[in-house]
C-alpha cells in the first residue's frame, strides 16, 4: 500500500447536526441518511467499452430466453419437474455438485481477474452496474444533465417536474418489468408465460416472482444504486486480500497532479508551482459511488473508469498528456515496473484450470443413467418349486437423457443368479424414472452365508457405454 493514507477532513460544524439541534450540542443523529449522488454523464474510451459489454450482456439476457432448439427452450430451469435444461443438456438435482463446482470456478475466476486487473467485474459486467447505468442513461434522457437534475430536485413541485419524474419512474418500471418477466421466463417458458400473464391464467407464483424481480430491479438500480456496492456487497470488503502492488487499479497520479489548483489554460503550471490537476472536480461529479479518486484507493471504487474518461477529456482541453487518472498499479505509481506474472497469478490460475478441467471431464464422461436397487422388506426370501431361493428387488432406472432408451438388466456376484422377472429390456422415457420389480433366483448351493453380495447392472441396448451398476444383498437361509 502507499506510504501515506490520505486523510479526509471532517468538519463537525458543517457536517454535523443541523441548525435547530445546535442548541442541544450533546445529541447527534445516529443515522446518516444517504446523500443523493448526481452522476454527470461523460463520454470516453472506457464508457464505450462498457457500452459494448453492457449491450452484449443485456442482449444475451433478453435473447437467450427466446431461443428454442427443436421446440425446447435453450435454457429452462424446470423446478416442478426438477430438470435443468442448459444448452441441450439436462441436469438433475443429483448433479448439483456441478453447480457447486461452477460456483467455485466463478469465484476463482473472479479472484484471478481481480488480482490481475482489479475490479473489472464491478465496473463492466456486474448486473448492479449494468442496470444502474441503464437507469442513469434513462434519467439523463428524461430529466436532463446533472445540473438540470439538481435544479429540478430543488425546484418546488410543478406540472413539469411531476411529468418528468413520473415519466422517469414509468420508464424505470418498464425496464424493471421486462427484466422481471425475462427472469421468470428462464423458469417458465417465456411464450407460455407472456400468454398466461396476459390472460390472467398464470400460476400465482409467476405473478409474485415477476412482481418481486420488477420491484427489486426498480429499487436496486433506481434507488439503492451505489448503496448496494457500499453496504451490501461483500466483494468490495475483501478486495484488499486480492489486491497487491501489481494489481491494476483506477488511480490518480499524485506525483503528476499535486499540488492541484485552478489555472488558465495559457498559464504555465510550473511557474505557478502547480501539478497537472486543475481541480475541476469532474472526476468527483462523474463518480457513481460519489468518491474522490484523488484520495487514493478506496473500497467504494467499483473501477468503472468514468473518472479516467472525465479526466482525459479535461487533459485534452488543457493540452496536457492524458492519464493523470489511469489504470495503473501501485508499483508503477512509485516508478517501479509491475509484474503480470507472479505467484498469485499462477496460484489462482492453476486452481482455476484445475476446477475447469474437473468440470469439463465430469460433464464429458457423465453417463446419463442411474440405477438404484431397493430390496423388498416384507419377505427376506422364499423357496420356489425348483428348491431355489428367490429374492425380490425393485430397480429404479433413471434415464437422464433426452431420448427414450431400452435397458438390459444383468446380474453379477453370484454365479447361478438368474432373473425370473425382468429378463425383457425395460424402456424408460426421456428424463424419466421407472420402477421395475425383478425377481432373482439362486441355487442354494451357491450361498455360503445368509447374506451375499449381488450386483445389478443395466446397459442401454443402443450404446454399451451407457451403463450403471449398483450392489445389493441376496438373503437366503442359514447354510447347513
Amino acid at each position: 500500500m502507499s506510504s501515506q493514507i490520505p486523510v479526509r477532513q471532517v468538519d463537525p460544524n458543517t457536517d454535523g447536526p443541523s441548525d435547530n439541534k445546535k442548541n442541544k450540542p450533546e445529541t447527534v443523529e445516529l443515522y446518516a441518511s444517504r446523500k443523493k449522488i448526481y452522476v454527470r454523464e461523460v463520454k470516453g474510451l472506457f464508457q464505450r467499452i462498457r457500452n459494448v459489454s453492457l449491450t452484449a450482456l443485456m442482449g444475451m439476457y433478453f435473447l437467450f430466453v427466446w431461443i428454442t432448439v427443436d421446440g425446447d427452450p435453450l435454457i429452462h430451469f424446470d423446478l416442478p419437474a426438477r430438470e435443468f435444461h442448459l444448452f441441450t443438456m439436462t441436469f438433475f438435482p443429483q448433479d448439483f455438485f456441478l453447480l457447486a463446482a461452477m460456483l467455485i470456478i466463478c469465484a476463482f475466476g473472479l479472484f484471478f481477474i481481480t488480482t490481475l486487473f482489479g475490479r473489472v467485474w464491478c465496473g463492466y459486467t456486474c448486473p448492479q452496474t449494468v442496470w444502474t447505468f441503464i437507469f442513469m442513461w434513462v434519467e439523463e434522457r428524461i430529466e436532463g444533465s446533472r445540473n438540470k437534475r439538481m435544479k429540478l430536485d430543488r425546484a418546488p413541485n410543478s406540472p413539469e417536474k411531476m411529468a418528468r419524474k413520473s415519466a422517469k419512474h414509468a420508464a424505470w418500471l418498464l425496464i424493471a418489468l421486462a427484466t422481471g418477466v425475462t427472469f421468470v421466463g428462464y423458469f417458465y417458458p417465456i411464450r407460455d408465460l407472456l400468454g398466461d400473464l396476459a390472460t390472467l391464467n398464470a400460476n400465482g407464483w409467476a405473478y409474485f416472482w415477476v412482481g418481486f424481480f420488477t420491484v427489486a430491479t426498480y429499487l436496486n438500480a433506481g434507488w439503492m444504486r451505489e448503496q448496494v456496492c457500499l453496504y451490501m456487497c461483500p466483494y468490495a470488503r475483501f478486495q484488499s486480500v486480492m489486491f497487491d502492488r501489481n494489481t491494476r487499479i483506477v488511480s490518480y497520479d499524485p506525483n503528476r497532479g499535486e499540488p492541484r489548483g485552478s489555472r488558465k489554460k495559457s498559464a504555465d503550471p510550473e511557474e505557478l508551482g502547480l501539478g497537472d490537476c486543475i481541480d475541476c472536480g469532474l472526476c468527483v461529479q462523474v463518480c457513481p459511488t460519489g468518491i474522490d479518486i484523488r484520495d487514493g484507493l478506496q473500497y467504494e471504487c467499483i473501477g468503472c473508469a468514468l473518472c479516467i474518461d472525465a479526466c482525459d477529456s479535461v487533459m485534452d482541453k488543457m493540452d496536457y498528456p492524458r492519464g493523470l487518472i489511469r489504470y495503473t498499479t501501485e508499483n508503477e505509481l512509485e516508478g517501479r515496473p509491475s509484474k503480470l506474472l507472479r505467484p498469485r497469478t499462477f496460484g489462482y490460475g492453476a486452481l482455476l484450470m484445475l476446477m475447469i478441467g474437473a468440470v469439463v471431464i465430469t460433464i464429458a464422461t457423465r453417463v446419463p443413467v442411474e440405477l438404484d436397487v431397493i430390496r423388498d422388506r416384507g419377505a427376506l426370501f422364499s423357496y420356489n418349486n425348483n428348491g431355489w431361493i428367490e429374492n425380490t428387488y425393485t430397480l429404479k432406472i433413471n434415464n437422464m437423457a433426452e431420448v427414450p432408451r431400452d435397458f438390459r438388466i444383468e446380474l453379477g456376484g453370484i454365479d447361478s443368479a438368474r432373473l425370473l422377472r425382468g429378463q425383457e429390456p425395460v424402456q424408460v422415457d426421456p428424463t424419466a424414472q421407472r420402477s421395475v420389480p425383478v425377481v432373482v433366483e439362486v441355487n442354494p448351493e451357491d450361498l455360503s452365508d445368509i447374506n451375499t453380495a449381488i450386483i445389478f447392472r443395466i446397459e442401454a441396448l443402443d450404446n454399451a457405454e451407457i451403463t450403471d451398476e449398483t450392489d445389493s444383498r441376496f438373503v437366503g437361509p442359514r447354510p447347513r
Binding site: E26, T27, V28, E29, L30, Y31, D376, R377, G378, A379, S382, Y383, N385, E390, T392, Y393, T394, R421, R434, S435, P437, V438, V439
Partner: protein, 297 residues
C-alpha cells in the same frame, strides 16, 4: 395432558412473553428518537466506555410486534397446554384436508380407466404403470414388489387361485377382503397322531410326493372324513370356500411333510384385508387390472 402440565406450560410461555414485554419497556429510556447522548453506562475498561443509548425504533417495535404476534398465534392455535385455539386447527383436520385435495387432484386420473374392462385395462401400459405404483404402495408389503408372495401370502403371478382369478373375483377380493380358515384336523377333531401321519402322506400323494405309500393308502379314509368337505374328493379344492387345490405345485404354507403336518395339526387362519374403505373404486379397478396382468401376460 393433565391440568398441572397444562398450567405449567401456559405459565412458562405467557410468563416469557410478558417478561420480554416488561424488559423491553423497562429498559427503554425516556428518549423516543434515535439520538445519541453523551450519557455512558458509567463503567470504563482501559478507557473504553459504553454509551447508554436506546434501541433503534425499528428494532424496538420489531420486538413489540414479535410479542403481539406470539400472543395472537397462541390465541388462534393450540399452543398453551390444553387450549384448543380459536381456529379449531388440528393436525388431523389438516391431514384430512390434504387427503381431500389429493383425491380431487388425482381422482380424475384414476377415473379415466374406471369403466375400461379389466382384461383390456391389463394391456394398457400407462394404466399398468399406475397399477404398479398402487400395488407397490398398498400390496407389496405382503405379496412382494413382484407379486410373488411368500409363506402365507399367495403368489399372484401363477395360475393357482384360492378364490378364482377372473376379473370379478379379483375385484371382489380387493373390495371386501377374504377370511381364510382351515380348522385344526379339519372336520375330525379327534384325529390321532397316526391318522395325522396317514392323511399327510395321502395329501402328499396327490402330487406324487408321499413318503410312505402304506400310510398314504390308509390316509384316504381319514381324508374322506376330515378334509373332503372343503378340498373335495380329488383334492382339487373349492374356490367358493377358498379351499386350496392340493394337487398342484402351488403351496401357500410349504409343500414338505413338516409343513403339511403343521397345517393339519394346528389349522391355518389367514386374512386378506378389505381395501374398499381405503382406496377409491377407481383405484381398486386399476389394481385389479394390474393383478390380472400379473398372471395373464
Amino acid at each position: 395432558m393433565s391440568t398441572f402440565w397444562s398450567i405449567w406450560i401456559s405459565v412458562i410461555v405467557l410468563g416469557t412473553i410478558f417478561g420480554c414485554w416488561w424488559l423491553l419497556f423497562a429498559t427503554r429510556k425516556s428518549q423516543t428518537t434515535d439520538t445519541e447522548t453523551e450519557k455512558t453506562m458509567g463503567h470504563s475498561f482501559d478507557g473504553i466506555e459504553e454509551y447508554d443509548n436506546p434501541l433503534p425504533k425499528w428494532w424496538f417495535y420489531l420486538f413489540v410486534a414479535t410479542c403481539i404476534f406470539g400472543l395472537v398465534y397462541l390465541a388462534l392455535y393450540p399452543g398453551l397446554g390444553n387450549w384448543q385455539g380459536l381456529l379449531g386447527w388440528t393436525q388431523e383436520k389438516q391431514w384430512e384436508q390434504e387427503v381431500q385435495q389429493a383425491e380431487a387432484r388425482y381422482g380424475e386420473i384414476y377415473a379415466q380407466y374406471g369403466s375400461t374392462p379389466i382384461p383390456e385395462l391389463s394391456q394398457n401400459g400407462d394404466a399398468m404403470e399406475m397399477g404398479q405404483r398402487l400395488f407397490a404402495n398398498n400390496c407389496s408389503v405382503c405379496h412382494g414388489s413382484a407379486g410373488r408372495g411368500s409363506v402365507g401370502f399367495p403368489n399372484l403371478t401363477d395360475d393357482a387361485w384360492l378364490y378364482g382369478g377372473d376379473p370379478d373375483t379379483i375385484l371382489e377380493t380387493l373390495h371386501n377382503g377374504r377370511q381364510g380358515n382351515m380348522p385344526a384336523k379339519g372336520t375330525m377333531p379327534n384325529m390321532t397322531a397316526d391318522q395325522v401321519d396317514q392323511v399327510v402322506n395321502y395329501v402328499l400323494s396327490f402330487s406324487n410326493r408321499a413318503q410312505d405309500e402304506q400310510a398314504a393308502e390308509a390316509g384316504a379314509e381319514v381324508y374322506a372324513q376330515a378334509c373332503v368337505a372343503c378340498h373335495g374328493a380329488d383334492g382339487t379344492g373349492n374356490q367358493a370356500l377358498g379351499a386350496p387345490n392340493l394337487t398342484d405345485d402351488s403351496w401357500l404354507y410349504g409343500s414338505t411333510y413338516e409343513w403339511i403336518e403343521e397345517t393339519v395339526l394346528y389349522g391355518r387362519q389367514n386374512v386378506m384385508p378389505a381395501q374398499g374403505d381405503r382406496l377409491s373404486d377407481d383405484q381398486i379397478h386399476i389394481l385389479a387390472g394390474y393383478v390380472y396382468s400379473l398372471s395373464n401376460d
